[in-house]
Symmetry: C2
């Protein structure tokens, strides 16, 4: 009887994975994942059977991992947290009686936040701008309500070729509710090779520097920039005693 | 010249920390943190100077860590992600010219989510019900807008003696926007000693099992329970090809 670990490896590379994730990979004889993610954890993969796949066909990848897990210890890996826009949901939806363990990781907004300072210190939300599975009207509605609620907003999948204008439009929606001097961070490849981070104000934001490997973080009404770092205070009264 | 690492140790214990966090602690000669957090990483603390403090007085703890970091390598530790309701914000607010590095960790909603299944698979938000630094009216407004936007909602600090009714009231607000059969999870001490998890429906939710060590996760309109796991689909069309 085998089992399946659904692992979030964090931002990429070994350093920001949990020990638990590393141990699960060690225990596994088969590793399944998108080619680029497999590459990121290569030092851990000596003597493992590898099933790497392209980005599309997630359902097939999940089916394969579930089938293999009947007689093997299998790790299905993806970046970030396996439970946030990761593979854990689809696996549990498709699961019949296979033994499945979800192992969390550091999600992309946490990784990106740490690179630019402490933007996520107060109530915050993650919104994906991908319309592959969600109507764009619903996405825009969420952006509007999050802006109105003064959440710090992390935008996942902010841009792709098929929808080049979504990000710009969503930033315009946010501008209706936020002052133009609050910070916006664009972090590309956070905490992995090729990391690039930019902090600007909402007013000066230009979506041209954003690509599909970026996370965009928009501050709340109290966020500010100090010494090049993006800071959101924990509350509305920093002098208050906790 | 010293430096300060602001470290999120994740849910607690060594297993869910990142290797990066472990290395930073190893490199440090002084460790600062709340007594209970120090206890969680004790195996890493041989030959370290320890400054453990009570829960209150966070500003003093930060000041101490910053002062010590002028001539020492200091790790200031807290659970979860240091950048989400953690210590990174206050440190960067108070920082003068000290060298500060923020090291992220697995935040409590990710940890709690992994215990009950995959509740955070789609757009989601974190809201703290603590009113120490934020007016309760603002908190309720956020809960309302998050409910209206169909976000999966993770409630941090859901209950304390000083505000026993907030959670119940916020759940009532959510009920105005969600069907009563969607799942709600209460996870106490996620991924650490004393872990307890319960999944109920919004209709059957009873706030009596919730305490200050719990995270409460409320599903979106598509969330459901299958074989005892709390699943939120990735989108509104699971058959769509990505």
């Amino acid at each position: 009887m085998g089992k399946l670990y659904v692992i979030g490896i964090g931002p990429g590379g070994i350093d920001h994975m949990s020990l638990k994730a590393q141990k699960a990979i060690e225990e596994s004889n088969i590793i399944v994942g998108y080619t680029k993610y497999i590459e990121m954890v290569k030092p851990l993969l000596q003597n493992k059977e590898i099933f790497s796949t392209g980005m599309r066909g997630e359902e097939n990848r999940c089916k394969e991992a579930l089938d293999l897990s009947k007689d093997n210890v299998v790790s299905l890996i993806s970046t970030g947290d396996s439970g946030i826009y990761g593979m854990a949901g689809l696996i549990l939806e498709m699961r019949k009686d296979e033994e499945v363990h979800v192992i969390p990781g550091i999600t992309a907004s946490s990784a990106a936040g740490s690179v630019v300072g402490a933007p996520l210190m107060h109530d915050n939300c993650n919104i994906s701008l991908s319309d592959l599975m969600t109507p764009y009207e619903d996405i825009k509605k969420r952006v509007k309500l999050a802006a109105e609620g003064d959440f710090v907003i992390s935008l996942y999948n902010p841009k792709s070729k098929g929808r080049p204008h979504y990000l710009k439009e969503c930033i315009e929606i946010i501008k209706e509710y936020r002052k133009e001097d609050i910070p916006v961070a664009v972090v590309k490849n956070a905490l992995r090779e090729g990391e690039e981070a930019t902090i600007v104000t909402l007013k000066d934001f230009n979506d041209e520097i954003v690509d599909m490997f970026s996370i965009v973080i928009v501050g709340n009404s109290k966020s500010y920039i100090k010494d090049g770092r993006f800071i959101t205070p924990r509350g509305y009264n920093i002098r208050g005693e906790e």
